[in-house]
């Protein structure tokens, strides 16, 4: 059993939190994990990605080979497309609809959606609005995680346990907001 996930977004959008939560659940299962992150210059508003590799066998490379990712999980629609060379032919692309516009000319958003919908296995949701609707506006990333977990073979209880552990130090209100976001993501 292995799951190779490309997490994508723009610096500061919270993809590493998603990685930490999935990682926690995988370790609980006794799986092995490698998680390559981007630090440094790119974090200043540039595109960032993380390679998250989970397996019940030892993980060799810190990088996912091109054409072998099981999923691209992106908190920003254009960023989802940037990593298509990594996606396996039967892989899933799961993306937020809300564009992060910090460049002079952002492409036509409908054309971006059209490209994402061109991938057979895709989920495209408005995670920002969903997060606001459940009064967890800062947990858009957790809504995205919720939308992804059934395709990764994780149960809600495992991920909820990870969220409780990881956010515990931030107080019960923040834990509960993230749990609501997770459930809302699962429900879409």
């Amino acid at each position: 059993m292995k799951k190779d996930i490309i997490l994508a977004g723009v610096g500061g959008q919270g993809i590493l939190t998603i990685a930490t939560i999935i990682g926690y659940a995988a370790i609980k299962r006794g799986w092995n994990l490698k998680q390559a992150e981007v630090h440094g210059m790119s974090q200043r508003g540039g595109d960032v990605q993380s390679h998250l590799r989970l397996s019940d066998k030892p993980v060799q490379s810190d990088l996912i080979p091109l054409g072998q990712a099981d999923m691209i999980l992106s908190v920003e629609p254009m960023e989802a497309l940037r990593y298509l060379p990594y996606l396996a032919s039967d892989g899933w692309i799961i993306s937020n609809k809300t564009p992060f516009k910090n460049i002079a000319v952002y492409p036509d958003i409908e054309a971006i959606y059209h490209e994402i919908e061109g991938v057979d296995n895709h989920v495209l949701i408005d995670a920002d609005t969903i997060a606001k609707d459940v009064k967890a506006s800062r947990a858009m990333n957790i809504v995205m995680l919720g939308a992804a977990i059934s395709h990764l073979g994780f149960e809600e209880a495992e991920i909820a346990e990870a969220i409780r552990a990881i956010f515990a130090s931030k107080g019960e209100a923040i834990v509960e907001a993230n749990i609501r976001a997770l459930q809302a993501g699962i429900a879409v």
């Binding site: 981007v38 440094g40 790119s42 200043r44 810190d62 080979p65 091109l66 996606l87 910090n102």
Partner: protein, 532 residues
Amino acid sequence: MEKLMLLGDEALAQGALDAGISGFYAYPGTPSTEIVEYVQHSKEAAAAGIHRTWSSNEKTALESAIGMSYAGKRAMATMKHVGLNVAADPFMNSAFTGANGGLIITVADDPSMHSSQNEQDSRFYGKFAMIPILEPSSQQECYDMAFYGFELSEKYQIPVMLRLTTRLSHSRSAVLRRNPLAQNQLHKPTDQFQFMLLPAVARKKYKNLIAMQDKYITEAQNSPFNKFNFDAPDKSLGIIACGLAYNYLMENFQEKPLPHPVIKISQYPLPTAEIHKLYEMCDALLVLEEGMPVVEDSIKGFAFMGIKPIKGRLDGTLSRDGELNPNKVAQALGLSDTYGKDVPSIVAGRPPMLCVGCPHSDSYNALNEALSEYGRGHVFSDIGCYTLGFLPPYNAIDSCVDMGASITMAKGAADAGHYPAVAVIGDSTFAHSGLTGLLDCVFDKSNVVIVILDNATTGMTGGQDYTAAGKLEDICKGLGVAEDHIRVFVPFKKNHEEMVQVFREELAYEGVSVIIPRRECLQILKRKNRME
């Protein structure tokens, strides 16, 4: 013992802490920064009083680490690859003095230049200095090599280089801890000549270093981190895979056994006898290494050319530059490769940029206006967030070479008659390598305007404190800059006219001016607000 989920950088830091280190010395630099940051956040390190504050630059850091080794304690200097250029003088000479307490010099290379101005390979430096090099291939090896490296260093009284690359520095995996060791007791070097490199002594030191090489090779042959598999059946090719490249190789052989003999190298100098054996036994060799073709070049030589092929980055089997990955290795082996879909053409680039509201952007807007009559080509800059001022919409600077070069390049251009000559340098970069250049300017009364962008932090690497914070005017005065030509303002849009005026006045002054736009980095401000 407990298992921790750590970055390669953090695993090394925890390993060094558990191996009884007494001090870390460093200046921040991607991808090495997280080593010392981890130690700064460690309660155990605080309780044990481990040295962990930042140094002014890599040279002062390494010299302090050598001093701690002199005193008998275990010490580590950490830096990014180009930082070793700054520390090259103590580095090369430390191979002659050797170590007393264990000394590890950790250098994190950045192949593909994710956050760097070049992709030099630090193994060249290790070979140049003739010291043992360790190159971990996993987070667990990072941890274990701290113990091993200090033991090796003390066994032979020699500094050991530990070479990381970005991908391992910034990748996380589970690490199993060992029982921690106590710190060394203070103990002076027993040999009074050990750290005294007068020529007559140094000549003996060099002979000794040469004589030790065979022992270092034997250590590499017996290293727990090197692997030799000569039994595989297909001798048409033998593979030498160094550090992380070994993982990329094995990634391609998870479902089937690797048919070729293979040597995994994680400790240098190269185990020559084993490499000869592989060469004799196989029809061709393939060298897989992250960075430059250090190993390929070493074993190829002129004598081997044309006898049996040695493939790698030099003959084009692998790309000459850039980071390796499993796909490049698959191609080099002629295996079937995988690839998803092309990136759709509508996807636009998203380069890093200054944050919205960054103080540097207000400084650049004012500087641009003050310089508008002269056109481009007058602003020498430096290494930091503000280097992004080269890009639109600012188009404000014209050079970025190395830490501190803004001031000295402006000086050289001014000496040639270039006017105006403006230097733009960050406050932390100024502390790192700007002071001596400013002293040169004062000494020569050069006609330069030096802009020290003071955001009260080392911004690009994530906001570390630095040694000259709060002392910039005093330092400039002390170096001899006239007090009425040290100008400070707050870079805000509302102060634009005042800022332009200050720039114009100092451009008109014939001599050394220092202008300090001072406003705190927004990232640091945000972090403070979150904590309150």
